[in-house]
Every structure is written in structure tokens, then in C-alpha cells.
């Protein structure tokens, strides 16, 4: 270490620590530069870009069908929702009305992906707090959703199941029965999550009142999804700008006003229940019909600008397309929820301890490829 830095640190009584890019609880290759005074965090500087793949640039040389498989790799835990954003944008641009069957299947798939994503968040949140057993329970149950996905879409994590105009394939004959079995199983197992972690005194002590964020701050940081809703910011795209079949189902937007880590935690736990409600309403009523509209082999969007947002598992995911009437987009921009959520990390953690930083980071539930794109 440089002499000067040592002297400077001794002077200010502050130490700076590089947390990441290789650190057990930065959920990937996020690098946080912390300024610490003892255990107290004075400042957090997130450094992104370790997994930047230039996706937005890549899209400019790809057709719209091919772009789908890139969006899987943004927020890999809500791959279905990211796919849906591009598909919906293209369908809106071309003025295509997809069959009811597609809408319903897309809704079910999105909600299953949301449950799977929240399960993984639950395990990693538990692990961040030090309860390693949570990790395996969450993964155990997520496995069942992944099996359902694999049976229908052919892959487990990055499915590329949607395509402009519909779906890549029809649902598997076992799909409905398996989803129903899963819902039955998960309704029984979810209270166990509460017993193990939500009701635990240690967890409550560590989460309540930590990382507070008011509604105004949340809006100004652009925090969306469960993190924003934990602060009382009503930002559920499914409710406010319904897409798929969300206007036909009854569900509540989970809102909490405390704005702390525990609120963000509870929003996600309740969202899993809401997602199960949505699936239950739809699973028996999948209408008959085609699983895709016949599309031209080469899709050319009319000249113009298109924006479509969907509610991904971590917040609002937006796709902004500028088309010059060619088969490739002229410019494409992904509005990723994690990037805006991460911007609030500094404000959330200031004056808390390192252990709280980990808990807050866990409650924001960032997925690094989505931040870096």
C-alpha cells in the first residue's frame, strides 16, 4: 500500500475497502468501494461494468427474433419478463393482436418466473444474513419451477420461450397439472419460509429499521419493483399499465410503507402469494387457440420509436426501440430495474454497519448482468 494513502487514512480515521468484484455477497461481479469508520459505512461507491457485454450495441446488428435471446441474459432470473418486453414492443409496433391463449400462457410463465426469482432472492438473502440453510430450501423449491420450465420450454434458466407474435412452442400436455401440483406444494412450504426466517428474531432485528427510504426518495432514485413498493411507491406495471392477461385477473399490488429492509423483504414474500393467486385464476382457464400468430420471416418495424415496459421480478423493465424501418433496430435501450435500484445503495447504507450493507444489498436483490448489460 502507498505510504500516502496510509497517512491519509490515519488522518481521517477512515479506511476504504474494496468489496468485490470477488466477494461472497455481492451476488456476482459488483465492486463496492466502501469508506469505513470502524464498522460504520460512510460512503458506498458502486463500480459497475465488470460484466458489460455491450448488449445494446449488439442488438443493432440483430433481427428482432434474435434479440430475444439476448434479453434472457440481462436479468437471467426474470428471463421470461425480459423476453416479453421485446415481444410486446415489436407486437405493438406492428399492431399485432396475439391470441388469448398466448396472453394467458405468457402471464402464467411470467408469474412462475417471478416466484422462482423471489425464491432465489429468499435463499440469497438468508445466506447474506448468515442463515445458510435458507439457501438450500429456496433452491429445492425453485427446482420444481425449473422442471416445469424445462418440460415446456426446453431450458431451465434462460428459456427464450417467447417470440414476436407468440410462443416458440405450445405448452407441454403436463404443464397444467404440474403447475397445479407446484402451487399446492408451495402453499404448504411457504409458511416454513416464514417460520425459518421471516419470524426469526435475529432476522427481524437485523432488518427492521435498517436502510430506510421514504416514498419521495424512492421515486427520485427510480426504485421500482418490490424495492420501490417497500417504500410505498405504487409502481406495479401489471396494475397501472396492464399487459398480457393482467387486466383479467384479480390481484393486489403489495404495498408497504415502512421503507426498510424488512418491508422490502415482506413485499417479496407477499408477492409470491399474489403470484400464486394469479396462476390459480388462470391455470384452469387457458383458452384454446394458436400458440403464435403467423409472422413474416423477417420482421421490419415501421419507422418510429417504441417503448414497452413490463414488471420484471426486480422492477420495471423497459425496452426502447428506435426503428428506421429496417430489420435491425437503429438503436435499442434497455431500462433495467437493478441499475436504478443500485443507485440508491449509497443513500440506503450511509451510517449503517457493514453487516447492514449486506442485508440492504440482499434486500435490493441485484443481479449484476442486468446492471452492466
Amino acid at each position: 500500500m502507498n505510504e500516502e494513502i496510509i497517512l491519509k487514512e490515519a488522518d481521517e480515521q477512515e479506511i476504504s475497502i474494496n468489496m468485490g468484484p470477488q466477494h461472497p455477497s455481492t451476488h456476482g461481479v459488483l465492486r463496492l468501494v466502501l469508506s469505513l469508520k470502524g464498522e460504520m459505512v460512510q460512503k458506498v461507491e458502486p463500480h459497475c461494468g465488470y460484466i458489460h457485454r455491450g448488449m445494446e450495441k449488439m442488438t443493432e446488428s440483430m433481427t428482432y427474433q434474435q434479440i430475444i435471446h439476448l434479453t434472457d441474459r440481462l436479468d437471467y432470473l426474470s428471463a421470461h419478463m425480459n423476453n416479453a418486453a421485446v415481444c410486446l414492443a415489436v407486437e405493438k409496433a406492428l399492431d399485432i393482436e396475439v391470441p388469448e391463449r398466448v396472453k394467458v400462457i405468457r402471464t402464467i410463465m411470467d408469474e412462475l418466473a417471478r416466484i422462482a426469482s423471489h425464491q432465489l432472492w429468499w435463499c440469497s438473502f438468508g445466506m447474506d444474513l448468515g442463515g445458510l440453510t435458507c439457501f438450500f430450501y429456496g433452491l429445492r423449491d425453485r427446482e420444481k419451477i425449473l422442471d416445469i420450465f424445462e418440460e415446456t420450454t426446453g431450458s431451465r434458466l434462460i428459456q427464450s420461450y417467447y417470440c414476436p407474435g407468440g410462443l416458440m412452442a405450445d405448452i407441454h400436455p403436463n404443464f397444467q397439472q404440474k403447475v397445479k401440483e407446484f402451487i399446492k406444494y408451495f402453499r404448504k412450504i411457504l409458511p416454513e419460509y416464514d417460520e425459518l426466517l421471516s419470524g426469526n428474531i435475529i432476522m427481524m432485528e437485523r432488518a427492521k429499521g435498517i436502510g430506510k427510504m421514504s416514498k419521495e426518495e424512492a421515486i427520485s432514485f427510480g426504485m421500482t419493483g418490490p424495492s420501490g413498493r417497500g417504500s410505498g411507491f405504487s409502481c406495479d406495471v401489471r396494475k397501472h399499465h396492464p399487459y398480457h392477461a393482467y387486466d383479467k385477473v384479480k390481484f393486489n399490488e403489495v404495498l408497504r410503507t415502512e421503507g426498510d429492509t424488512y418491508a422490502r423483504y415482506m413485499v417479496r414474500m407477499d408477492e409470491m402469494r399474489e403470484s400464486m393467486n394469479i396462476i390459480e385464476q388462470l391455470i384452469d382457464n387457458i383458452p384454446d387457440g394458436d400458440f403464435a400468430v403467423k409472422m413474416k420471416p423477417i420482421i421490419k418495424l415501421p419507422e418510429g420509436e417504441y417503448y414497452q415496459r413490463v414488471e420484471a421480478a426486480r422492477g420495471e423493465f423497459g425496452v426502447y426501440i428506435i426503428s428506421k424501418g429496417e430489420k435491425n433496430p437503429y438503436r435499442m435501450k434497455f431500462r433495467s430495474p437493478n441499475f436504478s435500484n443500485l443507485s440508491a445503495l449509497d443513500a440506503l447504507t450511509r451510517g449503517h454497519k457493514i453487516a447492514d450493507l449486506i442485508a440492504i444489498g440482499g434486500s435490493l436483490d441485484y443481479v449484476i448482468p442486468d446492471i452492466d448489460r
Binding site: 440483430m62 433481427t63 427474433q65 434474435q66 430475444i68 435471446h69 439476448l70 440453510t133 429445492r140 427446482e143 422442471d147 424445462e150 418440460e151 415446456t152 420450454t153 426446453g154 431450458s155 434462460i158 427464450s160 417470440c163 416458440m168 412452442a169 407441454h172 416454513e192 417460520e195 425459518l196 426466517l197 419470524g199 426469526n200 428474531i201 435475529i202 427481524m204 420471416p297
Partner: protein
């Protein structure tokens, strides 16, 4: 007095919540039949993948060593990352017509992202995804595969 009451209430609540958590993990500890993990290399024989599992791209050949690929190159065009290269030759039929035929169907497994566009867009259903998922090799070059078999020909259409 109220504070003392709250003090003991906190202790009681804390112990209760800890005990609830311990009951969950303790119950699983005494239920070894609930183990969900599989013993992978041992269960290889009876491991059943789902029929749609995208393992790797294959070109099915029938017993007469015939495939269905006409060498049109649509899959190559649709592939987002240049995984597929279709090499064709121009064959002359006995009656003097020139006909394009598949020479080599090169598939680079190392670059494949399993988006499924090739299979979806193939007009003659010549390629499918197989369930084989054990792809590990020692040399990167081994991932580049030629899918059509030696000496295979295009399947004649049913007249």
C-alpha cells in the same frame, strides 16, 4: 414495572421465534427420506431428461443414412451468433440439372446459446435438439461438430 414486563416478553418472544426456526430444520434433520439431491454419475443410467430439453443440435438420420437438410441456409441466417455454417456443393443430376446439396453442416457447440431459432425456422425439420447434456471435452476444437454423417444423402420426398 411495565419495562420489566416488556423485558421478559422480549426474551420469551425471542426464544419462541428461535424455537420455531429450529423446529423446521430439526424436522428435516430427522427426515432423511426428504433428501432431494440426486447422485448424478450413479443415476446416469436411469436419468430421464424432458423430451424438449435443449441439449445439443443434432441432425437425425434414418437407417438409410439419409437426412432432411436441403442446405438452404435459413438456420445459418437465423443463428444470432454464427454457430452454424452450412456448406453446400452443386451436384449435377444425370439428366443435366444442377442441384444444390448439403456438403457439411458445421455446428459449433461452444458458441451455441440454445435460443432454438434454427430448429424453429428450419423449413424441412432437418435439425432437432437432442437431450444429451454432457458436453465436457478437453479440447475446444472438439466442440465444433459436423452434423451430417459421412456419405449421407438427402431423403427423397415421398412421391
Amino acid at each position: 414495572m411495565r419495562e420489566i414486563y416488556n423485558y421478559f416478553k422480549t426474551i420469551f418472544f425471542a426464544l419462541k421465534s428461535l424455537w420455531t426456526g429450529m423446529k423446521v430444520t430439526g424436522a428435516y434433520f430427522f427426515k432423511p427420506w426428504k433428501i432431494v439431491t440426486q447422485q448424478y454419475p450413479e443415476n446416469r443410467e436411469k436419468l430421464q431428461m424432458f423430451e424438449r430439453t435443449k441439449g445439443e443440435l443434432v441432425m437425425p438420420h434414418n437407417e438409410k443414412n439419409e437426412h432432411q437438410c436441403t442446405g438452404c441456409g435459413i438456420c445459418e441466417m437465423n443463428c444470432p451468433n454464427g454457430t452454424i455454417i452450412v456448406k453446400t456443393v452443386i451436384n449435377e443430376t444425370p439428366d443435366g440439372k444442377k442441384k444444390k446439396a448439403l456438403d457439411k453442416y458445421i455446428y459449433n457447440l461452444g458458441m451455441c446459446t440454445f435460443c432454438g431459432l434454427c430448429v424453429k425456422t428450419c423449413p424441412s425439420d432437418a435439425i432437432v435438439f437432442s437431450n444429451k447434456f454432457e458436453h465436457a471435452v478437453f479440447n475446444k476444437n472438439k466442440l465444433v461438430k459436423t452434423l451430417n454423417k459421412e456419405g449421407s444423402t438427402l431423403k427423397k420426398r415421398a412421391e
